[in-house]
Amino acid sequence: MSAGSQQKYVRLISEANVEAAVETASTPRHIALVRITHWIVVLSVLGLLVTGTGILVSHPRLYWGETGGVGTPSLIDLPIPFIIGPSVWNRPFHFFFAWVLVLTGLTYMVGSFITQHFRKDLLPAKADLRWNRIIAVASEHLRWRRPEADAVSTYNVVQRLTYLAVVFGLFPAILWTGLAMSFGVTSVFPILATALGGHQSARTLHFTCVVLLLLFVIVHILMLCLAGFWRSVRTMITG
């Protein structure tokens, strides 16, 4: 290669690097829709957890079927005392946060389809949807291996599948099981309760799904620690 074309070649490469660097710097890691809805959902889940626990501990036994109470056989007896009615405000605040969650969730759903957030950021590549691929990624994280610098700019296959499961599976399940306990709603859609096995089954499943959500949150936070907790939080605020 002549000196002149070598120089031109180096200049083209460095220009391309600068271009790529500028693009990475100006493209946010998370779009505004994701960032805003994420934190609103965090707040509402916190509110729902606190108020939901308040309601649960007023009768910490779980049943199956339609009926159950003190004196009837139960599925699970939680090892805590009955703490009845210290606050009648658990109920109204539970439904207040439920509305915040539902309206925010709907905004996120519609917005994510419009902005192609689902397609671009959460849909796994076909090549990644193999068991050996999934297990490889999971075991990397289980061995607490810090991800490489370029791996943090996009979600890996385990993340994608998990987030999709939470957004399209777990949250709708929590909503369904919650509404199945509403006599107003089940008077119009009785199948919401009967498909689950009844009123008490809905209650038990509602609690079960919440426990699964808590497990997800714990793993989520652990993985953030692996990737750098405060850096990740900052990225989710400013992009």
Partner: protein
């Protein structure tokens, strides 16, 4: 160029805010006209309550029926939630089989009436096998027998402008302090006229037991247990929004 863009953004933002505000105002106006604003609509909790009540009212506007069950589903143990009143007045009435008890229907009615237990029993009776669930989490199935509240309201001639039916029970200071109980309770006209809403005097084929609200309790198909007022002594029909209940927490019990 940037100044022009900033002004355009400002105008757009301003128009969007104005449009949203007027849209919201219009929605609230029509919601109120169609009875979709609950009496406990104030405060931060009121926003959630209004959304819940409005959605449920619209959803159940066709008089949808709560699930009914088979005789074999009836629970062997109907859970008792707190003891009946033990003051002299109630115990005396209980001892005489409520012979001297009268249920008066007052307020926005053409003909204020009062019924004895016998008179209520002679009105057209209905039975429903439904689920009774407490907000705490327990539930049981039982069969309740009684007269439709709609029949009684019709006999009293409830006025068209009435909005709520208020249920006053016998005072029950004996009720455990940790079991929340309003001093009185109310429903809107949609629930009052619902086909499953009964003034129930019978339970599982027998007279309503004292621990379950004797002589008569309200039985709503589509609400949680705390709305089903026990030990009824007076019913008042009103259009006032401030009498809806005495006690904390929410008013709507359909969820």
């Amino acid at each position: 160029m940037t100044k022009f863009l900033k002004r355009r953004q400002f105008i757009t933002a301003g128009l969007a805010t104005a449009a949203s505000a007027s849209g919201l105002g219009t929605a609230v106006y029509f919601a109120d006209r169609y009875g979709l604003i609950p009496p406990d609509h104030t405060g931060i909790v009121g926003i959630g309550e209004t959304l819940t009540y409005a959605t449920q009212r619209l959803l159940t506007s066709g008089h949808s029926l709560a699930r009914e069950f088979k005789r074999s589903d009836i629970s062997k143990v109907p859970i008792v939630n707190g003891p009946h009143p033990t003051d002299e007045k109630y115990l005396a009435l209980l001892a005489e089989g409520f012979e001297n008890w009268r249920l008066s229907i007052e307020g926005l009615v053409a003909r204020p009436v009062s019924f004895s237990l016998e008179e209520l029993r002679r009105l057209p009776a209905e039975s429903h096998i439904t689920l009774h669930a407490c907000e705490q989490g327990w539930s049981y199935i039982a069969e309740w027998t009684g007269v439709r509240l709609a029949t009684v309201l019709d006999l009293a001639g409830a006025r068209p402008e009435s909005r709520y039916v208020v249920f006053e029970p016998f005072a029950n200071p004996n009720q455990s302090r940790t079991v929340v109980r309003a001093l009185w309770e109310s429903v809107d006209m949609a629930d009052a006229l619902h086909p499953q809403t009964l003034l129930a005097y019978g339970m599982n084929g027998e007279a309503l037991p004292a621990d379950h609200g004797a002589p008569v309790r309200l039985r709503l198909g589509r609400h949680l247990g705390w709305k089903n007022t026990k030990y009824l002594s007076r019913i008042v029909i009103t259009d006032r929004r401030d009498l809806y209940r005495k006690g904390g927490g929410t008013w709507y019990g359909g969820i």
